[in-house]
């Protein structure tokens, strides 16, 4: 998943159905911002940090299984991607932690 996604949603502030920018840390939604009026929803700060730790733990435990399933489905493609993907993980997690801290 990307750390940032956009989608058309209705804004509870300006009432328009417009693009919103969503920020994620791992599987968790951190914030959403209306691209029209800037109205922003945030995940509650303390709750987000606890939820992120649980989520990260779960992702780490399930990661080998997910890679194995991908290897079975697309062996060559996955084997080629695996080293670079593993090398990216620390940076990816560091970015997520920064996102969570900033809220």
């Amino acid at each position: 998943m990307e750390g940032r996604e956009t989608a058309v949603l209705r804004c509870s502030n300006c009432g328009l159905e417009v693009e919103h920018t969503m920020r994620y840390a791992g599987r968790l939604l951190v914030s959403s911002m209306c691209d029209n009026c800037g109205f922003t929803w945030h995940h509650e700060e303390s709750d987000l940090r606890t939820a992120y730790v649980h989520d990260l733990e779960s992702r780490i435990w399930t990661k080998p299984g997910r890679w194995l399933r991908r290897l079975r489905r697309h062996p060559v493609e996955t084997a080629l991607e695996l080293p670079a993907a593993l090398a990216r993980q620390p940076f990816k997690i560091a970015r997520e932690i920064i996102t969570v801290i900033r809220g």
């Binding site: 956009t6 949603l9 804004c11 599987r27």
Partner: protein
Amino acid sequence: MSKGHRPGSVGVVLAAGMGTRVGADGNKAYLPLAGRRMVSWSLDSLAQVPEVTRLVLVIRPDERKRAEQTLDRELPGVKVELVRGGASRHESELRALQYLASDIESGTVDVVLIHDAARPLAGPGTMRAALLVAREFGGAVPALDAPDVVKVGPDGGISPRTERTLVRVQTPQAFRAMPLLRAYLAADREGFEGTDTSSCVERFADVEVRTFQGDERNLKVTYAHDLFLAERLLADAHYRLS
């Protein structure tokens, strides 16, 4: 019957939204929700219903690759047929039914279950309930009481509620396949566009449409805050819909 299709019911998930919008980033059906794209939750729930033998995903024409990648990554081993949607919800439903028409006419599809991708929390239990009610009576719509709804007259005055209870309807909505197909073909001939599946069936088909108990958690993601709520509900359910 199409080659390789087992007889049974078909689950259709509508993810085309308003086809008039352009751009792959705009479709909320592909927003991440608790680790998978929103559309995957609905398809996964339908795939767990034993009576559902085929899954159809209605997509925007320019999102085929995005849909294929999502399905490959998040629902490996689940066969999903992709159908190009139309410019409106009604047109997308019509296209899905036209795609299934030969199997419906041959009798190998008994019930079609239509669900909005924007309702990711409808679990297998709700899907199956819709299907069983439709098999028994003809049509099934999940409904919730709407005690806070009042009738307002043309002058703005509040009218007393009648004895007929007002309800809020949800999806999945399920119908016997043949009357559903005929209703949509008739609506197409007359240029009728319904707001939801049941509105078209009620007007163009002679089948009994029954409501069954909906679920408050089966929310429709409309506002941004709905996503936060959906995420929390999924976490509370340990990411397993029932």
